[in-house]
Amino acid sequence: MKNPSFWLPKKNNFLWYLFFIFLFLLSIDFWNWGASKPLFLGLPFWVFYLLFLTLFLSGIFYLFAKFFWREDK
């Protein structure tokens, strides 16, 4: 395909595409549905899972900004 559509991943951003989609899919944690235990500090595990997933995202954004996002002047 000579002119791949703009939304398709390219060589230089393929891994980032995969990574962000993977992170998004991790947020749809259907395997935790119906579960409230184990409780940690009185909260179910899945709340901490989402909290740390969100914080992890910040780290990924840092790497994305540092290694992929080239600034235009």
């Binding site: 549905w33 500090l41 909260l43 989402l50 910040s58 900004a65 996002w69």
Partner: protein, 475 residues
Amino acid sequence: MIVFLIMVLIYFLLLIFIGLIAFRKTKKTPEDYFIAGRTFGPIILFFSLAATNFSAFAFLGFSGNAYKSGLGQYGIMGFGTAIMAIMFYIIGRKVWKLGKEKKYITPPELIGDRLNSRFLRLLFMGVMVIFTIPYLAVQAVGAGILIQYVSGTISWQIGAIATIFVIMFYVLLGGMRGSGWADVFQGVIMITAMTFAVVFIAISLGGFENANLMAYNANPVLFTRPGGSEYFTIQIWFSFMLLWIFVDPMFPQLFTLFYTAKNQKSLKISMILYPIIVSFFFLFPVLIGVWAHGAGVTMPPGQEDMVLPLMVQRYTPSIIFAFIMTGALAAFISTADSQLLSLSTMLSHDLLGLKKGKKEVLYGKIVIIMLSLFAVLFVIGGYNPNEGIMGTLVKTTFSGLVVLCPTAIAALYWKKVTKYGCISSILIGEFSIILFYYKFLPDFGFLHGILALLISTFVLIVVSYFFPKKRIEVL
């Protein structure tokens, strides 16, 4: 409550003072008044993006929904909003660059110019304006309800109208610079206030773990999904996670902020910090809403959005209660000021099509006054408190604005996109929302906005291929 009224008065005076200082620093040009001369560094941009996005919805709506449906409210708001920050790269970076090169100051201006269509520009603007005005009024209503609740004597309508006039006054004075500076001040107040709220309530309930366990014992359903009323289905969860990514950048007040960045470093730092602030700030009101069950609080149907003020009043000293309620006001006002400014920028710049210069700023200020009066009318006659903030917003703003996103992304990236594709995408997308709303089309349990987003994307691609026209230049 006299302490609260004094705090609110001081807070309002400080906002006007910030507006006055910004007024002295602002040149009488549209670029300087409406987008602060593209000078916002990382701190101001980050706080503006955060304070603008964290609204009455975050303070009252989150806790109200958590009271009804449980901890799942944190999930549908937290991660979805955090990952939305990738749009600071996908949309923000290009908007910033094009804005700098072509001197754009509004979202419709960029879209209309890219596709060389005045009609598309007006359509894009019309959708943004129509769906943002109720959102603006909701902020004022939230402020009014709080003022009524805390004061006990001032009606919510009077409180809302007073809030609208204060916002109008300092936005008139300081423009975007005033709004940005005020957002830093208000962002700090609201984050501190929310932290105080959760800490004081937790201590009063015997500690963090005990507060959670009391709520769990009272209503364990709230600790699972699908939660209370089985609200958090997989379809709803997926819909919200996706919705925020595509709808948040289409809020005109957020889209416009992309123009204000001094450089791309400001956007980068905002993107990195956004998930950190979201991860905690969105959790706190949800916890308070859920803890209310353990504390034996019963909210009548339709009044759930008042659970946070009630909990704060019950479990914190009066001076802390007053401060936290002032922080809640800051959440409302920091959103409303940016909305008012972005709407007036679009109406004066895109609709009136004035030649650039001082006159445009003057007309912009007249529009600010007219919009404020319009919001007052909405407050007096149009708001149905029984629907709750969440219901009102989801049914109006979010679904209506998300349909604009395919056009915005295509205008920035896709060479083959045509104005016919964009116009059809927006019109058919909005029409589909009506069809979903009145159940002419099945929604399969998904949010209507997400299905409309799919339809508008499909229409944009198909029509652009069927009606090829001049290709646009892509950066």
